[in-house]
Amino acid sequence: MDIPLNKQKIALSKILIGVVVLFLFLLVLNLFQKQIKNYFYLLSSPIEKKLWSAGVDSSVFFTSLFNSNGIAQENENLKSENQELLDKISSLQDAARENQAIKEATANNQDKNFKLVLVESMGLDTNNDIISINKGSADGISLNMAVINSQNVLFGKIFKVYKNFSEVILISNENSVLDVKIQQDDPAKAPIHGVIKGKGNLGVYLDLVPTDSEIKSGDILITSALEGIFPKDLLVGKIILKNKSDLKPFQTAEIEPFYNIKNTDKLFVILDYKKEIPAAK
C-alpha cells in the first residue's frame, strides 16, 4: 500500500524540483535578457541577412511569375497617375515660384534637425508587426526614434534597443497611433488632421477625421509632427476607400501604406530629431 504512495510522492517531488529549476532558469535568462538576445542576434545576423535578401529575391520572382497580368495593369495605372501628377505640377509651379525662397530655408532647417544612421533590416515578427535592425545603442540609437527609408516613407519607431540591434514597431502594429495630415490640392485650405491606427497584419486605417472634412480616394497622408516623435511631412500612405457614416462622429478610411517590407533592406533611423513647435495662430 505504501509503494504507490511513495511513487506518488516521488513523482510530486520531481515535479516540484522541475518547476523550481525551470523558474530559476527563466529568472536568470530574464535578468540577462538584453545581453543574451544581443549576442544571439549578433551571431545570427550574417545568416539572417543572407536569408532576408534571398527572401526578397524569391518573393519578387514568384510575384512576377503569378502576377504578370496584374503588373501590366499596374503599369497602365501608374502611367495615367503620372500624367495626372504632371498636370498638377504644372498648375502648382506658379505658386511654387513665389514660395521657393521660403521653402529652401525651411528645407535647410529641416535637414539640420536630422541626423540619420543607415541600418539594415534582418527579420520580421509578423505576429506583432515588429522588424529587427542591425544597429543598437552602440550606434546612438535609443527608444522612440523614427525609422524611414530613403524616400522619406515612415516605417515606425524604435521599440526596444539592445547594444548591437534594435526592434522597430511598425505603424501597422495594433498599439501604434500616429497623427497625420491629409495633403490638400489647394494649399490655401486648412489642413485636415486624422489619426493612423495600426490594425495588425501589416495594415493601417485612418480614423478620427471630422465628418465635415472632405477626403477622397488617392489623398496622400503625411506626418503632422503633433506628437513630437515623428518629424513632419514623412510619407505614410494614401486613402483607398473612405467610410463615412452619419451615425458616427468621425469618418474613417482604408489606407494603402507606402511602407513595404520587401523594400526594407536599407532603412534610416533619425537620431537627432528636434520637435518643431507648431506656430500659434
Partner: protein, 180 residues
C-alpha cells in the same frame, strides 16, 4: 540520445531564422507560417501517438522550441516555453482520452488538435502582452486570422504526411517517465 537533443536545438534554431527572415516575405495578409510551432506540434503529436505519457523528451522539446520562439520575439523569456509546455500536456492528455482506432496517427485527430493549439497560442500571447508589456489586448478572430490558421495548417498537414509516410519520429524507444 544526446545527438537527438543536439539535432532538436540546431533544427529549431534553423526554423526560427528561416521563418523570421526568409518567410517574412511570403506573408499572406501579414501572416507567416510559424514553423517552430508546426514542427514542435508534429514531434509532440507523433510521440503522443506512441505513448501518451509526458516525458523528459517532451520537456526538452518544449523548452528548446519555446526558447527560440522567445528569442525571436520581444516577449520575456519563458512566455513561449510555458505556452508550449501547456500545449504538450494538452496533446498528451488528448491522446489518453481519445479512442484509439486502427490508425495510430489519424489526420482527424491532428487537424482539430492543431487548430485548437494555434488558437490557444494566439490567445495566450495576447494575454501575456497585455499583462507583461502593458499593450492592449489584441486577439482579433477576423478574416486575416482565419487565413493565418489555414496557411499554418497547410504546412502542418504537408509535413504530417511526410512524417507519416517516412515513419519519422514515432517517439522514443525507451520512455523516461516524467509523470505517472
Amino acid at each position: 540520445m544526446w545527438i537527438k537533443f543536439l539535432f532538436f536545438i540546431i533544427f529549431f534554431y534553423f526554423l526560427g531564422v528561416v521563418q523570421n527572415s526568409f518567410f517574412a516575405h511570403f506573408n499572406i495578409l501579414g501572416i507567416t507560417p510559424n514553423f517552430i510551432l508546426i514542427f514542435f506540434f508534429l514531434f509532440t503529436f507523433f510521440a503522443a501517438s506512441k505513448n501518451a505519457i509526458f516525458s523528459w523528451q517532451d520537456l526538452f522539446l518544449s523548452i528548446t522550441a519555446g526558447l527560440f520562439l522567445d528569442m525571436f520575439s520581444y516577449d520575456y523569456f519563458g512566455v513561449h516555453i510555458i505556452l508550449l509546455l501547456i500545449i504538450s500536456f494538452f496533446v498528451k492528455k488528448s491522446f489518453s482520452l481519445l479512442r484509439e482506432g486502427q490508425e495510430r496517427q489519424p489526420i482527424a485527430y491532428f487537424v482539430p488538435l492543431f487548430i485548437l493549439s494555434l488558437i490557444f497560442y494566439s490567445l495566450f500571447l495576447s494575454l501575456s502582452s497585455y499583462f507583461f508589456e502593458g499593450l492592449h489586448f489584441s486577439f482579433n478572430f477576423n478574416w486575416a486570422y482565419f487565413v493565418g490558421i489555414i496557411y499554418n495548417l497547410a504546412f502542418a498537414v504537408l509535413f504530417f504526411y511526410i512524417f507519416k509516410k517516412n515513419k519519422l519520429f514515432s517517439g522514443p524507444s525507451r520512455q523516461l517517465k516524467l509523470l505517472p
